[in-house]
């Protein structure tokens, strides 16, 4: 060992007293314009879908609640918090961000002695680079999810106008997989669905080609999946994260696809089997979505369930209100058949109050549920509307389903009053009947609302127009004109406003703008109400009511301890809301039966 080897460690000490060799950045240069530095997040744009967390290959992102940002429909209220100890600045999170809210500033120099300072929520925890103009923004061509839906095949207007054949084709496997691939599985839609279906999970089942799993997920929350796959109001699609990028996922059509792919036997095989009989008996009045959903749940829980239906076939408004070209009857039959398979006894042609009394139901059962629906059409009460050729849409739709002719024949020329989906349904049904009988369509639809505020679904309005229905907006019905005992048409005024300054329904009209719409029949399609006459005077008097509807608690129980009510008659018209209500009420009845206090 040389003397130098011994001394050199000590000579190094002299460096302690020298100026450092390194120099401060003399230029104070900013990074390149598109440098990937610390994140920026526009938290007002962000919807907390967590797709950034999902794609991060380093597990650097947590979704965290933020004070002042509420959870609401379409926004989880969570925001991404980034751990820069793990971030590798790859920007996949920026490229996948569904709302464009996440980006990266070009600032990357930051010194802090506390390692936890490098874990923060961009846009919430204020940073100097929050407003930096430069940095990495997703280039237009970087899109990791598809913006456009798998197109849906439909029968062309000319071909469908004289037929009640189903218009929509449905997706085949390749189309469904393409559409399912666009879903980022964020689950924001689940809160919006009234019955909270396992949407991301069943879409994943489509991606994986696992239809057994898919259909068992559907049946966990919705025994009307075949029907909802076709006619659901699909509110879920209004909060889908992909709507920020382009078209929302076609959730309804994907549900339908699962139902189209599986056989009835396959569905019955995956259903949860009923538990042992409890010896409790439940009567359900009305075989519509609410009643049958409750029946399905209660039967699986071992209760003996009997459903009494006044008409000759089950399905309620899905059968008697929705036209066949939107919902073929065999789809209803299939859903009902599966509900029957868990032990639900459905008795048709059994009208309560006529065939059996409500008192008898009460005497023979531990609980009674009313799911009556909204089967009476509301009247306009305008002059002339008492004429026999002024009909209610729901009545005519019921005739169409039954295949019975309209008294006096299909009108050659007809005027429909109303701008909702039921108005579209009857207008399009009459258009088909006219085309079949006379080879031409003469249907005029007059709506109170203007085009911008139409109540009917946009596709209904579009398709009705394609089929030759003339749609007139902002027209207020004034009088059904009757000459020599026959209806000749409808007189309308232009609507100036539907609501008054307090927001109450009080249409005001421009009387100078009057029109006459010729027609030998006028159809009222302005809303429905419940026929609750089966209750009888004494019960009607005894029960508590609220604004014409039976008053119920959150579980659907009326003021009588043995009586529940569910569906459209308490919630207003909507299939999937009725299904959700059916579940809710079944849970309430089940709890009451278990406690043995139903009576």
């Amino acid at each position: 060992m040389s003397i130098k080897d011994v001394l050199s460690p000590f000579t190094a000490w002299k460096n302690l007293f020298r100026d450092p060799v390194s120099i401060r950045d003399p230029l104070n240069r900013a990074a390149a314009p598109r440098y990937r530095g610390f994140h920026q997040n526009d938290v007002a744009q962000c919807i907390g879908c967590g797709t950034c967390e999902d794609i991060c290959q380093n597990g650097a992102i947590d979704m965290v609640p933020v004070e002042g940002i509420a959870t609401k429909q379409g926004d989880s209220g969570l925001r991404p918090r980034i751990d820069y100890g793990r971030c590798c600045w790859c920007a996949l999170c920026v490229d996948v961000c569904m709302t464009h809210s996440l980006s990266m500033s070009n600032v990357y120099t930051w010194v802090d002695g506390d390692p936890d300072a490098f874990r923060f929520t961009p846009g919430v925890d204020k940073k100097p680079w929050d407003d930096a103009a430069l940095g990495y923004r997703r280039p237009e061509e970087h899109r990791l999810t598809g913006r456009v839906r798998a197109p849906m095949g439909e029968i062309e207007p000319a071909e469908r106008i004289d037929s009640f054949a189903e218009i929509v084709d449905g997706y085949d496997v390749a189309e469904a997989q393409f559409e399912a691939d666009r879903c980022v599985s964020c689950g924001l839609c689940v809160a919006t669905c009234p019955t909270h279906m396992a949407i991301p999970q069943y879409i994943k089942a489509i991606r994986d080609g696992d239809y057994d799993l898919g259909v068992s997920l559907l049946y966990e929350s919705n025994p009307f999946s075949g029907i909802c796959g076709r006619v659901c109001t699909h509110k879920c699609e209004t909060t889908c994260a992909t709507r920020h990028e382009g078209e929302p996922i076609a959730i309804r059509w994907l549900k339908r696809h699962i139902m189209d792919q599986v056989s009835v036997d396959q569905i019955k095989r995956v259903l949860v089997k009923p538990t042992a009989p409890t010896g409790r008996k439940v009567a359900i009045v009305g075989a519509g979505p609410a009643g049958l959903t409750a029946a399905f749940d209660l039967a699986k829980q071992g209760h003996q369930v009997t459903v009494y239906e006044a008409l000759d076939q089950p399905g309620g408004m899905t059968r008697w209100g929705i036209p066949e070209y939107r919902l073929p009857y065999d789809i209803i039959d299939q859903d009902v058949d599966i509900i029957r398979s868990v032990g639900v006894d459905i008795r048709c042609n059994a009208r309560i109050g006529t065939d059996i009394t409500l008192d008898q139901l009460k005497a023979d059962h531990d609980a009674v549920l009313l799911g009556l629906g909204l089967q009476l059409g509301r009247a306009t009460r305008i002059p002339g509307s008492e004429h026999a050729d002024v009909r209610k849409a729901v009545d005519l739709l019921r005739l169409a389903t039954a295949g019975e002719p309209i008294a006096g024949g299909t009108p050659r020329e007809v005027v429909v009053i109303g701008g909702g989906n039921v108005a579209m349904d009857i207008a399009r049904t009459l258009a088909r009947l006219q085309q079949q009988a006379y080879g031409e369509v003469k249907v005029i639809l007059t709506a109170l609302e203007d085009r911008a505020h139409f109540l009917a679904d946009p596709e209904e309005i579009k398709e009705a127009g394609e089929e030759g229905v003339i749609i007139l907006d902002a027209r207020g019905p004034q009088q059904v004109v009757v000459e020599n005992g026959s209806v000749t048409g409808l007189k309308t005024w232009r609507v100036k406003a539907i609501f008054d300054e307090q927001g109450r329904f009080a249409p005001s009209y421009d009387e100078a703008d009057a029109q006459f719409h010729p027609g030998s029949m006028v159809v009222e399609a302005i809303g429905q109400m419940t026929d609750a006459s089966l209750l009888g005077d004494a019960m009607t008097e005894q029960l508590a009511w609220q604004r014409g509807r039976l008053q119920v608690d959150v579980g659907g129980r009326t003021s009588a301890s043995w009586l529940w009510a569910a569906g459209d008659m308490v919630r207003g018209p909507d299939v999937v809301s009725a299904v959700a209500d059916g579940h809710r009420v079944a849970a309430s009845i089940h709890a009451a039966l278990q406690e043995g206090i139903a009576k």
Binding site: M63, R86, H583
Partner: protein, 186 residues
């Protein structure tokens, strides 16, 4: 000379795939063309010695997992003409091996070492090909292979800072918006 003329001339000698003009507009000075693995050496020697492509800009790979293939891209540059020509060679992903070109361009040895480490593509005879390149002590499948699960690796190898907690959006929304509702009626 245009790239198209060069391509036509070279295609008469070697079984080249179709010409892909990457940089449209201007003078089309970046093109790609596929060539069978067995013809790569002859093709690059010809391009280097007869066509002025004196420089290997880079050698890289793409993992076409679904097709079971690796794509090697040899990017050559003609300094005089300022042209870039990329030769693409498809090789099988199983026991992926390619002839070394370190004797044509010595710099290729470095690229080949990197490809061996990151993709697991072997170049027998290439200098120091067996030595670790940048991944010291690597004991997993090569990380640029697409079946390498980066997230799983990151979670196994790197500890999390204490105090981290995440929330699933769907579950969080249920707790906030409809905590008492059981959709299944169970």
């Amino acid at each position: 000379m245009t790239m198209r003329e060069l391509y036509d001339r070279t295609k008469a000698l070697f079984p080249l795939g179709e010409l892909i003009e990457q940089r449209s507009g201007g003078n089309n000075d970046l093109v790609f063309v596929t060539v069978p693995a067995a013809h790569l050496r002859a093709t690059i020697l010809h391009l280097r010695d007869k066509e002025g492509f004196s420089h290997l800009v880079l050698l890289t790979a793409v993992d076409w997992l679904e097709e079971g293939q690796f794509q090697l891209t040899y990017l050559l540059n003609n300094r005089q003409q300022a042209y870039d020509l990329g030769l693409r060679v498809m090789i099988s992903r199983d026991s992926a091996t390619m002839e070394s070109i370190h004797d044509v361009w010595p710099t290729a040895a470095t690229y080949q070492r990197e490809l061996r480490e990151m993709f697991g593509i072997d170049f027998p005879g290439s200098p120091r090909i067996e030595e670790e390149f940048i991944l010291e002590g690597w004991n997993d499948i090569p990380p640029y292979r697409r079946d390498f699960d980066t997230l799983k690796y990151a979670q196994e190898k790197f500890s999390e800072r204490p105090g981290r907690k995440t929330h699933d959006p769907e579950t969080h929304m249920r707790q906030q918006l409809y905590p008492d509702m059981s959709p299944t009626g169970k």
